[in-house]
Each structure stands twice: as C-alpha cells, then as structure tokens.
C-alpha cells in the first residue's frame, strides 16, 4: 500500500508546485511509482510546471463526474518510468469538489502507486481541505520569512487537528549568503518556531526559473544545488537516512569573529 502525501504551505508562492513536481520526479528517478495530483481546481499549474500541459485530456473532475476512468485520466510522463499526473479541472472551482471525492481518488491511487503527492492550493479553505482529505502524511513548504512561517504554523495546526502524521517541513528558497550575514533566519530558528521535523532545505536556485520556463523539473538535470536538495529529500521520503547539510555560508570576517567569540 502506497503513501498519500499532501504538499501544502498556507501562503502562496513559496514553492509548493515546484516542490511537488521535483519531489515526484525525483521519487520516480529513484525507481518508485508516483502519481502527482493537482488539487488546485480552477488554478491548475502542476501540468505546466511538469511540461505536460499539452497532453492533459481528462481531469480529476471528469473522474468524479464519471466521465472517465481514473486510470484513463492519468497522464504518463514519458521521460521517466512510473510517473503520472492527474490534472485539476480549470473550468471548475474548489467548491465543485467534495473532500470525500478527493479521498476516494487518493484511496484508489494508493493501491497502485508507491507515492501519491497531492499539490494543495494556497489558503486554509475548501481547496486545502480537499487536498488533505485523503492524505496520510504532509509536507509543509515554507520560505524563511515571517509571513510564510506564520501561515505554515496555521496549516500545521490544521493538519494536526485531522491527525495527519508525520508532518515534515521543507525550507525553500534558503539563501546561504543572507543567513551568513544575519539577514535571514537559519534552519534552527525556523524549527524552533514551528517545532516539526525538517525533511530538507532547498537553497535559492535560479535554475528553478529556467526549468519552469521549459517545463523540465530541475531534478532531470541534476548538479544544481536545488536539484541535489530535492533528490536528498526524495531519498529521505523513501526511508533513507541522509543528513541535512549545513548550507549556511559564513563570510571570512564573521567566521573570524565567531571563532573568537566561540573560543572564549
């Protein structure tokens, strides 16, 4: 029986869809069978980020309305074995779907696929409730800034209320330079506030922009810091124990000052 993991954040624009696309692709590259579910009904984007937009024929709404079988609605990603996408309907809105209907889809997918990743819309309303309805576990994506972290805390509370466990945190768009000079909270600061398990830190990577432009998830062309971070998170999701590297970049000057202050 596979796992259903909802990828969520509360705040928009922190990288939920990018993270879903890259983690799903990374899991498939590791040999797992994966289906990505776009739960952002009315504002679908996972298809275009994955570069599969031209091949979407049916959506989850067609499955719910019994216009087509679930298997037939899945779009196969031909670049890697075992990676599928279930697109969201663009002409409907979030209220057209019931949480139980999404749960029924997830329950079916769980019997066939190792991982079902559900890309949640931003917010705490119906779209989020639909997305998390069928989930066993959650990945909360945040960036290290006050608004994203505050919203992440709210989402974590809601996930805990419905007993989704574990809830793992991804810190996205982490800037080693800004952390090094004290302008950005580091991972210890974020964890101290949110108090959940960290599954990975993804550094700011301009490659994300070009990979999204082209519709090729970063992990297909590994080597970039972002791709490596997503690959490590995917390995952790499969149960491998891989330490989280310290990405903080200390300037020479602050290293010297810290060395003096620490060694007293």
């Amino acid at each position: 029986m596979g796992k259903v993991i909802v990828v969520t954040s509360g705040k928009g624009g922190v990288g939920k869809t990018t993270s879903t696309a890259n983690l799903g692709t990374a899991l498939a590259l590791l040999g797992k069978s994966v289906v990505l579910v776009d739960a952002d009904v009315g504002l679908r984007n996972l298809d275009i980020v994955m570069g599969l937009e031209s091949r979407v024929v049916y959506t989850s709404m067609d499955v719910i309305e019994k216009q087509c079988e679930l298997n037939k609605a899945l779009v196969r990603d031909r670049r890697v074995d075992g990676l599928m996408l279930l697109a969201a309907s663009q002409k409907n809105n979030k209220d057209d779907m019931q949480p139980e209907q999404m749960k029924a889809i997830c329950d079916k997918l769980r019997t066939t696929y190792d991982f079902t990743l559900v890309d949640s819309p931003a917010g705490i309303e119906r779209g989020f409730r639909n997305a998390s309805a069928g989930a066993d576990e959650a990945i909360v994506v945040t960036t290290p800034d006050v608004s994203a972290i505050r919203d992440a805390d709210r989402i974590i509370g809601l996930l805990q209320n419905v007993e989704i466990e574990p809830i793992n945190l991804v810190i996205n768009r982490f800037s080693p330079q800004l952390v090094g000079n004290g302008s950005m909270m580091d991972q210890a600061d974020v964890l101290d506030i949110l108090n959940i398990d960290l599954i990975g830190v993804v550094p700011e990577d301009s490659g994300v922009i070009t990979s999204t432009n082209r519709g090729i998830p970063l992990v297909y062309e590994d080597g970039s810091p972002g791709a490596q971070a997503y690959m490590r998170i995917a390995r952790r999701l499969t149960g491998q124990r891989i330490p989280i590297p310290d990405l903080e970049q200390k300037g020479l000057f602050s290293s010297i000052v810290n060395w003096f202050t620490k060694n007293r």
Partner: protein, 90 residues
Amino acid sequence: MNLSIKQLFGRKPKSSNIAKQRLKLVITQDRVDVDDRFMTRLHHELAEVLAKYFEFSANSVKMNLKQEGNSYILVADFPYTKFHDMSMRR
C-alpha cells in the same frame, strides 16, 4: 566579553533575530486564538483545582491572554465568594 567584541565592530541587531522574536510572539497569540478549545480546557482545569480552595460562581470567571511588550501574560480572574480553609478540615 562576547558582546564587546561584536560591539567593537559596530554590529546592529541582526534582522533575522528580530524576525524570530516577532514571529514567536505572534504565533503564540495565533495558536491560542485559533484553538478556542485550549482556553476552554484550561479554564475548566484551573476551575477544578481552584474549587478545592475557593467558592466562586462559574460565570464570573474571566480569562484572557494579554500582550505586554515582549511577552504574553495569562490573566485569569476568579472572584471568589468563600475560602475553604483546608487546615480546619483535618
């Protein structure tokens, strides 16, 4: 000594520290606001303990969380009508 070295180089407080402190405060409040059940439970449990020592009418009790500068203070008013003197019961 720790401080003086950093001060010597004219360091302003790091904005990441300011962010962390502000967040901690606001999230404390968010969590209590959201979780009405938490305040209700706390209310019941405090009342249960206090009822051993005091007599008070349940609807005169007031509880809330107040912000004062850098911290939150739990303010609980349990106006009592009678004090049960435990020492007399022995």
